[in-house]
């Protein structure tokens, strides 16, 4: 892949590099043939400022040999690695390739541990302290950025330690959430609900479902309009984990609490995305991570 607009530059670089190295060889060879006046005091014979003379001591042998070694090294290096223009080198090294090799080596190194974990179920792993330490590390590095270090999330990022699961809290469901990610879409439903007054009434009705403070008159009026919501959120508002529709009867407000917030959600809809992790993490790593997340809300009773 060329970074230049013209092929000429590759040959220019290769040429200058090669010629420079060869020129050094020539310089060394030429120096052996130089004739200089052999004065008794080993000077070149020139004198400046009455008594400033220039000596001409020969180079130490080891220094010359090292010089030759470095030149040979440069030639061999240029043969093996990319150095002469666009010639990729006999070893085919690239920085992307090195990164991939290091990643593969790292995965291969931890593979035996993960092999052992892959055989166990999520529940068994959740009881294994070593697996949970690894799971905690994976969580801190990959998940805590959104779900917070203590996994209790924040606004729009679900709390993974409670019993409220938008897409299902069984091990398989958690695994799918992590691996493939989730996209939760609530379409704007203001038109379906009715007038802005209707929307506010529905909001109060929703608040009443969980026992939160609300206006009972408005809530009663909103119950009829709630029909537009039943398709996803269910008749009692218990939600539907198959499509990611939250349970409206628990007192958990992922997107914020209050009438204004609910009204805006009905008017504008919501899209909430959990990105898929199978890009960065292997299947076995996700298995351990699933166990960790499952274990957060299924702690043994002791």
């Amino acid at each position: 892949m060329s970074d230049f607009t013209s092929e000429f530059w590759h040959y220019w670089i290769a040429g200058v590099t090669l010629i420079s190295i060869l020129a050094c060889f020539v310089l060394l060879w030429y120096s052996t043939k130089v004739k200089v006046a052999a004065n008794e005091d080993k000077s070149t014979g020139h004198v400046w400022d009455e008594n400033l003379v220039e000596l001409d001591n020969p180079l130490p042998k080891w220094w010359v040999y090292l010089f030759v070694v470095t030149l040979l090294f440069a030639l061999i290096y240029g043969l093996l690695y990319p150095m002469f223009g666009k010639f990729p080198g006999l070893l085919g090294w690239t920085s992307a390739g090195q990164y991939q090799a290091e990643k593969d080596a790292n995965l291969a190194e931890v593979a035996p541990k993960f092999e052992a974990f892959a055989q166990k179920s999520v529940q068994e792993l959740a009881a294994d302290p070593m697996a949970m330490q690894i799971g905690e590390s994976l969580f801190m590095n990959n998940c805590a950025v959104c779900h917070a270090a203590d996994a209790r999330g924040s606004l729009t990022f679900p709390n993974l330690t409670d019993k409220d699961w938008i897409w299902g809290g069984e091990a398989e469901a958690i695994n799918v959430s992590i691996t493939q990610g989730r996209v939760a879409v609530m379409p704007p439903l203001a038109a379906a609900v009715g007038t802005p007054e209707d929307v506010t009434n529905v909001a109060h009705y929703v608040l009443s479902l969980s026992g939160a403070p609300h206006d009972s008159v408005r809530a009663a009026a909103g119950k009829a309009n709630f029909a537009s919501c039943i398709a996803c959120h269910g008749a009692q508002g218990l939600g539907n984990t198959a499509i990611g529709a939250p349970n409206l009867t628990d007192d958990i407000w992922l997107h914020g609490f209050g009438v204004d917030v609910i009204v805006r959600q009905i008017n504008e809809g919501i899209t909430n995305i959990m990105p898929p992790q199978n890009v960065l993490l292997s299947e076995q790593q996700i298995h351990v991570l699933t166990a960790y997340v499952w274990g957060l809300s299924n702690k043994p009773a002791n």
């Binding site: 060394l28 120096s31 052996t32 043939k33 130089v34 004739k35 200089v36 006046a37 052999a38 004065n39 008794e40 005091d41 000077s43 014979g45 020139h46 004198v47 009455e50 008594n51 003379v53 001409d56 001591n57 020969p58 180079l59 130490p60 042998k61 080891w62 220094w63 010359v64 330490q133 905690e136 801190m140 805590a144 950025v145 959104c146 779900h147 917070a148 270090a149 203590d150 996994a151 209790r152 999330g153 924040s154 606004l155 990022f157 007192d251």
Partner: protein, 478 residues
């Protein structure tokens, strides 16, 4: 280029009719075979050789607390020094050690010149050991010179092979010991015997061994002459009261041979009998009678051999001796020279050295083997949870620098009603560390909006001296 003109006015008298000649690109180096010597300074030198090498080769074999006493475990990033367990956080002590080394170097260089070079430097030490092995196989100086000049023969080949064999074996042992500071040496020994050394261990063993073989077998004084910066900046550290190896020119000149019973004053000769033994014993190949040169490593071999010769011809010792420039020029006695040791330069170096040494060891003694660090979780500033409580999340990193299992508990203070809503008790294995999430909460309305400084303390259960605290911020939203 064939310029033979001599434009010197008052310059050195060049030979007339000088022919042009080819000066070779490199000079075939003249191998130096120092003659063996015994005497006062030689004894001291061999003592330092024994001490330094017993320490270097012996330390890795000592055990402490069921592990190697001195071990630099690079992979685990933990350095063990007998009772001390050091982590990268403790790098400041290495800095302190380096500063102390530098100041100590300046101090004794100002007092006694190149003591380090002649008596303790590994280059000198290993060169001496290698020359000793060479002498064992090939004989003393004259025998070695003869062997070098002789034509190839079976005997010569055998001797050279044996010598290099000894050198290589010693180099291997040295490389092995060096790597033994970083990998437990008994494991390393097993690995060598079973030919199961790891790639990096093999590399470093061979690298360090090869460096020892090359430096002490071949390069020798070339390191001192060309590569080591100490030779060059010694002139900045010496003054007229620094002890240096000196030839007493006044007493020695004019030099020349004479019979034992001759009258010196009648012959107008000095003490120097021009035996050239001082040149023959010099490991860097200089003639000390020309005065102090940068190549001189201050080993005192010339002083030893000259004293021996002076004894044999019945003259007083000390024609070549350790003395100071002032002492020599002004004919001071030993007592007068000693008084000059306590001069401002030496006193200032000593004072700073003492200060830093005391500071380092005090700091080490008072060090708490528990380190904590708190960072705010970057994913949120604060969050409101049920019933209006405000929570902040932190990442608490704890390092147990002891070699026992420790149980810790966390406490926090700084805001009314500040509580910990996560795991407040935990344990760490020896030299273990972990990062855990810390969730703090305050009741609604208990603090005004804004950033509040708080303090987090981690303390070992049952040991109030083992505690560490750090500050952070708690954010209450508007």
């Amino acid at each position: 280029m064939s310029d033979t003109s001599k434009k010197s006015s008052g310059g050195p008298a060049a030979a007339t009719g000088a022919k042009s000649a080819i000066i070779p690109i490199f000079l075939e180096p003249e191998k130096i075979h120092p003659r063996s010597v015994s005497g006062f300074f030689s004894n001291w030198r061999w003592l330092t050789v024994w001490i330094t090498q017993i320490v270097f080769y012996g330390l890795p074999w000592l055990n402490w607390n069921d592990r190697q006493a001195v071990l630099f475990d690079l992979e685990a990033r933990t350095f063990y020094l007998f009772n001390l367990v050091l982590f990268p956080h403790d790098l400041i002590y290495l800095t302190g050690l380096l500063v102390i080394s530098a100041l100590a170097l300046f101090l004794f260089t100002a007092v006694a010149g190149r003591l380090w070079c002649g008596f303790a430097c590994p280059q000198t030490v290993y060169t001496e050991i290698y020359i000793w092995m060479e002498k064992l196989v090939e004989g003393d100086r004259s025998a070695r010179l003869r062997l070098d000049k002789s034509s190839h023969s079976f005997a010569k080949f055998g001797k050279k092979t044996l010598k290099h064999g000894l050198w290589i074996a010693f180099a291997f042992w040295t490389g092995f010991t060096f790597v033994g500071y970083f990998t437990p040496i008994d494991e390393l020994g097993q690995a060598v015997l079973q030919a199961s050394l790891g790639p990096w261990q093999t590399f470093w063993l061979l690298f360090y061994g090869f460096a020892t073989y090359g430096n002490a077998g071949f390069l020798r004084e070339k390191i001192c002459k060309h590569m080591c910066p100490y030779a060059r900046f010694q002139s900045a550290m010496f003054d007229k009261d620094t002890l240096i190896v000196t030839y007493d020119e006044q007493r020695g000149e004019p030099r020349g041979g004479r019979s034992r019973t001759a009258d010196l004053s009648a012959l107008k000769l000095g003490s120097c009998i021009d035996c050239t033994l001082c040149v023959q014993v010099c490991p860097t190949g200089i003639d000390i009678r020309n005065g102090l040169q940068y190549e001189c490593i201050g080993c005192g071999s010339c002083a030893d051999v000259c004293d021996e010769v002076m004894d044999k011809v019945g003259y007083p010792k000390g024609l070549v001796r350790f003395t100071t420039q002032n002492g020599l020029e002004q004919g001071w006695s030993a007592a007068q020279m000693w008084r000059r040791v306590l001069r401002p330069r030496v006193l200032i170096y000593s004072a700073i050295l003492l200060l830093i040494t005391v500071a380092l060891f005090t700091s080490l003694y008072l060090r708490t083997p528990l380190k904590i660090d708190v960072t705010r979780d970057s994913s949120l500033m604060s969050r409101m949870v049920e019933r209006g409580y405000i929570e902040n999340v932190y990442r608490l990193r704890v390092l147990n620098a002891t070699e026992q299992v420790q149980h810790y508990h966390i406490t926090v203070q700084g805001l009314p009603g500040l509580l910990i809503d996560s795991e407040a008790h935990f344990s760490l294995e020896p030299t273990g560390s972990r990062t855990q999430a810390l969730t703090l909460r305050v009741p609604p309305g208990s603090s005004p909006a804004g950033a509040h400084p708080i303090r987090i303390t981690v303390q070992a259960d049952g040991d109030s001296s083992l505690r560490a605290e750090t500050d952070s911020i708690f954010m209450v939203p508007r």
